[in-house]
């Protein structure tokens, strides 16, 4: 199919999804506590977070009315943090979600993912997991600020890949310290029988803001696109760029489907303080309500207009960008409260260096 027709059909698809505005993906930031202190954390979580965990009952009460609007088995509750494994009641939370018909999954750094935890989460009906491995040992330990995190993550990967039940992927945040060792990391993951690998760049938000070692140069960004394209052609592992940003001419080389930021379109979050948002890493300015004050279903159904209609993003460098129709203002987490310019544009960076 010619590229322009494909792009046109995808724009129709995107507009249709926005019109439907059906929730299918719900983050629950169950805690702000974390057992690592990663240099790139978008949430700026810590071991001694002043906020406690959100009581599970509060979250469940907020989302149960969703069952009136959607078949619950079409919604995956993605439990995130902080580090969700720090919650002792995680299996009980997951089991209760399944009893109400929802699917559930976790995002973890793998540090506390032991065989016993693995067994208990599977028994409680966990269906998907994403685990971070941010390079070979030196690079991973540097980013995660922990010397034991690499070995623990590798053990967790072995457990996960051996499970026939789990839908999973391993994610890597690519930065200046690990970009040149991606080929070795790929071989390591293949040796651990990893089937799916998602690569990120690091957005200049949260703790990553102002850390130049975390931001790839334009040449390195192109190097990353070429690496992912090569790994996809190799077909030994399903590598892809995450949906974090539009990458222009590289789109078809690095992803299965064109870029589409679904924040507030099909994705919502309940944050640890009860805030109702789109994705957890989006600027707090875009919070749409709070479960302790508002009906979650009502907020989802009647608000989120700022994400469903993104014409306001045609400003700053986006105002004169010829790719705007395809990109639609990029990813929501790259917009600050001022709403006057996107924080960074990978595509523009690569184009200017070409």
């Amino acid at each position: 199919m010619p590229g322009k027709l494909f792009q046109y059909l995808h724009r129709l698809f995107r507009a249709n999804e926005i019109r439907l505005h059906e929730l299918s993906y719900l983050f629950w930031e169950c805690t702000r506590r974390c057992n690592l202190r990663c240099l790139h954390c978008g949430s700026d979580c810590s071991a001694g977070s002043a906020r406690g965990d959100m009581p599970f009952g509060d979250f469940l009460r907020a989302i149960l009315p969703l069952k009136k609007a959607y078949p619950p088995n079409t919604i995956t509750v993605v439990i995130t943090g902080g580090e969700p494994l720090l919650r002792g009641d995680l299996p009980q939370c997951g089991r209760a979600l399944r009893e109400h018909g929802f699917r559930w999954s976790i995002v973890t750094n793998g540090y506390a993912y032991t065989p016993d935890v693995h067994a208990r989460l599977l028994a409680a009906g966990m269906g998907a997991i994403t685990l971070s491995l941010d390079g070979l040992e030196d690079a991973h330990s540097w980013l995660r600020s922990s010397t034991r995190s690499f070995a623990n993550a590798l053990k967790a990967i072995e457990l996960i890949t051996a499970s026939k039940r789990l839908c999973y992927d391993i994610v890597t945040c690519v930065n200046r310290k690990n970009i040149n060792t991606l080929p070795e990391l790929k071989e390591l993951l293949i040796s651990k029988k990893v089937a799916a690998w998602r690569l990120f760049t690091i957005a200049p938000i949260g703790r990553a803001k102002g850390n130049d070692d975390l931001q790839l140069t334009p040449q390195e960004l192109t190097q990353l696109m070429d690496f992912i394209a090569g790994a996809r052609a190799d077909r030994r592992i399903d590598a892809k760029l995450s949906c974090e940003a539009y990458v222009g001419a590289h789109e078809k080389r690095v992803r299965d489907a064109p870029f589409f930021c679904r924040a507030g379109v099909t994705i919502a979050s309940v944050l640890a303080d009860g805030s109702i948002a789109a994705c957890p890493n989006i600027n707090r300015h875009f919070v749409q309500g709070n479960i302790y004050r508002d009906s979650f279903l009502d907020v989802w159904s009647n608000r989120f207009e700022v994400m469903r209609n993104r014409r306001w993003t045609r400003t700053g460098i986006c105002a004169r960008c010829s790719d705007y129709k395809r990109c639609n203002g990029g990813a929501m987490h790259l917009w600050s409260e001022r709403q006057d310019a996107i924080l960074t544009c990978i595509n523009q960076k690569m184009l200017h260096s070409a």
Binding site: M1, F6, L9, H10, L12, F13, N16, E17, R19, L20, S24, Y25, F27, T76, V78, T80, R95, R98, R103, W104, S105, I106, V107, P115, H118, A119, R120, L122, A123, A124, G125, G127, A128, T130, L159, A162, S163, R165, L166, C167, Y168, D169, A196, R198, F200, D238, S242, C243, E244, D256, A257, R262, A263, T266, I267, C279, P280, N281, A331, H333
Partner: protein, 127 residues
């Protein structure tokens, strides 16, 4: 209006699925989230009791062959464990707490693990 949008979605999805490298291309994931769970599993639930007395037995480990997950029966002898759907699966019941609630012989049961939920009430012989 919504019906038309739903029909359009199915039509457009069918086009993109045909064009994409994997048929799962439209089971999306958020940038910092997991894949959507599209797997099939079954909830195996039930009660373990004593053949001799009929009383519920706590502390029995319930596991499924070739899968790492297990559950320990609670104070009412009840358990529930999710397992991969398959036409036949072996569920094993083993005494996991030594003599704390009596000593019982292990037992294997073959079940058809299809559908969403199966109920399995099992009695164990005292050792």
């Amino acid at each position: 209006m919504k019906t038309f949008a739903n029909k359009s979605r199915k039509f457009l999805q069918s086009i993109f699925k045909g064009l994409s490298a994997t048929s799962l291309a439209f089971t999306f994931q958020a940038c910092y989230g997991t894949a959507q769970d599209v797997g099939q599993d079954v909830l195996i639930t039930g009660t373990v009791s004593s053949t001799q007395t009929g009383e519920a037995i706590p502390g029995i480990k319930v596991s499924v062959e070739d899968q790492p997950q297990y559950e320990i029966t609670d104070g009412s002898g009840q358990f529930s464990v999710y397992a991969l759907q398959r036409s036949a699966c072996k569920v094993t019941f083993e005494d996991a707490d030594a003599l704390q609630h009596g000593a019982f012989l292990a037992k294997d049961t073959i079940v058809e693990a299809l559908g969403e939920r199966i109920v399995l009430n099992v009695s164990l012989d005292a050792r």
